[in-house]
Amino acid sequence: MENESTRAVTVVGEKAAKRLRRRRSAVSKLGLRHWQLWLLILPGLVYLVLFCYLPMYGVIVAFENYSPILGVFGSPWVGWTNFRSLFNSYWFEIMLVNTLELSLYSLPVNTIFPIVLAFLINEVRHSWFKKSVQTISYAPYFVSVIVTVGMCYTFTDAGYGVVNKLFGLFGVEAKDWMYEPAAFNFIYILSGLWQGCGWWAIIYVAALSSVDPALHEAATIDGAGRFKRIWHINLPAILPTAIILFIMAMGGIMNVGFEKAFLMQNSSNLVASEIIATYAYKVSIAATGYKNYGFGAAVGLFNSVINIVLLLAANFGAKLLGKESLW
């Protein structure tokens, strides 16, 4: 009797203890004792839900014939129709090629030039010269994209543009270059380089300045010349940074500056300047008649999917090479 009751008590006690333990571990797993931390991160989470995850969920309108009155839930489901009309569209091939071209040209340019600039800056011994070069070279980063494109328009004007005046010295015929499809990629990349090169070089300059000077001294004693030292010491020092930035850029390949391409676009250069993102915007939000949101969302989703695939591929490639990777 007595034994039984004590056993019952022990069993009950053990059960209670187990429950307590479970609850405690749940509390610590969710960090509920840190309710103040939850409160601190709450605004950030609400932001992500509203402006990142809700739009991700809203991607389902890509499979709908979206109507603003019926809303995301009420609009008729059309399956892959929007995608089919995208792939069959006359513009599809043109803008896919334009997007890829723009990215594939600017990616190496925007990787190599900042590295070269950083190497050159790293060789400078007079600090006043170094400082002025750096300060001036990233000034354009603070110029807005609207002003940059505006400058492109005025500089290349056939009438008074300074570019045409300079070209005139070499006997080149004056043209409105911003209206020439053939010049679009070149202007886009060159102006981008002007804006970003000095800025992107900052990271590499920092990576180079962290190289131990003893390495250079030792190499010099061993008879290595400047180029040998740059090749065998400086280049490996910046390689991890360069690879990470390259992978990140691959992930953004299809996001290639909508904001700038849109501003540089005009009716004359459309064959070169129409990229996927600008097309999505024009058929939906900016459309004057029927705003085909479903189709626009499908175009955008196509963009995002290619981005992810390229990012994963670049990361996988970097891993295969046994170098840095994102994860």
Binding site: L30, Y160, E259, G300
Partner: protein, 305 residues
């Protein structure tokens, strides 16, 4: 004899090899040219803005001002469009930067707390948005259904928090502030709010400065949200006004004042350069004094983890 030779060698200046001198000359020259090419467009714009509209239109300016004439400044500074844009931009920059910091700093702090177990999952939730997004149209539909069209917050809120910046803050707080300080404060009975506001935030002022600058410059230069969500011209920030003047060649600023048609055509081009100067000079003047903060931000951001 031998001793003298050794002494001579010891006192001789280290000789710079001829190849090295050539190399240095090349480096300095390339950098000088690079720098000049970079700054040339800015100087050119400045020169055009203070030359007479006729000289600008005729293409007589190459580097230095062809004449001295501030009539285009009179036009631009007399235009309501520009002032409204300026006022809106300043309002958006101030409110937007406050909101952005209020979102970014606490989030970065929480993600830096190593004793907060859900940290890993939360980190995943944040990072995922860096690699995948719904796209412009679904975002537009969400913003519209929130009733933010033609509202200041329609310009500010989408994009108010950059996950990249959250990571930068997190990295700074977990690497530059000794964890022991927070632990000691915890032992003394400080709650998480106090830890953040009284201990960590005051120690994080350098990164707060970086965030304020990044966000402020971002808001100052952005136009895309205004294009999408602000159709009411009276709410346009400066950049949207610039788009009208520079890219869509809206010459309403140049008109009026009773000049001849030719004068007005000259003026229509000259004001482009002047609006660029008026809108960009403030930032270009300020940034050299703040550049070390920008550089710090870029460098922390590039540290993996």
């Amino acid at each position: 004899m031998e001793r003298e030779e050794v002494l001579r060698l010891l006192h001789k200046k280290p000789k710079v090899a001829k190849a090295d001198r050539v190399f240095e000359a090349v480096v300095y020259t390339v950098l000088a040219v690079w720098t000049l090419v970079t700054i040339y467009p800015l100087i050119y714009v400045l020169s055009c803005s203070i030359s007479s509209p006729e000289d600008v239109y005729m293409g007589r300016v190459f580097l230095f001002p062809a004449s001295f004439d501030l009539s285009s400044y009179a036009k631009v500074l007399g235009a309501d469009m520009i002032w409204t844009g300026y006022a809106n931009t300043i309002l958006y920059v101030v409110v937007g930067t406050l909101i952005s910091c209020a979102l970014t700093l606490p989030a970065g702090y929480v993600l830096s707390r190593r004793d907060f177990r859900p940290r890993g999952v939360l980190m995943g939730i944040f990072l995922f948005t860096m690699y995948f997004s719904g796209g412009t149209i679904p975002t537009y539909l969400v913003v519209r259904s929130l009733g933010l069209i033609n509202n200041m917050f329609g310009f500010i809120l989408p994009g108010a928090m950059s996950v990249w910046n959250v990571i930068v803050v997190r990295t700074y707080m977990s690497t530059s502030i000794a964890w022991e300080i927070q632990e000691a404060a915890k032992v003394d009975g400080a709650g998480d709010f106090r830890l953040f506001l009284v201990i960590v935030l005051p120690l994080s002022m350098p990164i707060v400065a970086v965030m304020v600058l990044f966000y402020a410059v971002g808001y100052w230069n952005s136009y895309f949200n205004a294009l999408l969500y602000l159709s009411d011209q009276s709410k346009w920030p400066l950049q949207m006004v610039l788009r009208e003047v520079l890219i869509r060649s809206d010459s309403s600023i140049a008109g009026g004042g009773g000049g001849s048609l030719i004068d007005q055509a000259y003026m229509a081009e000259a004001i482009k350069y002047t609006t660029i100067v008026v809108s960009t000079l403030p930032i270009l003047f300020i940034y050299p004094f703040l550049q070390r903060y920008f550089i710090k931000g870029v460098m922390i951001g590039s540290v993996k983890g």
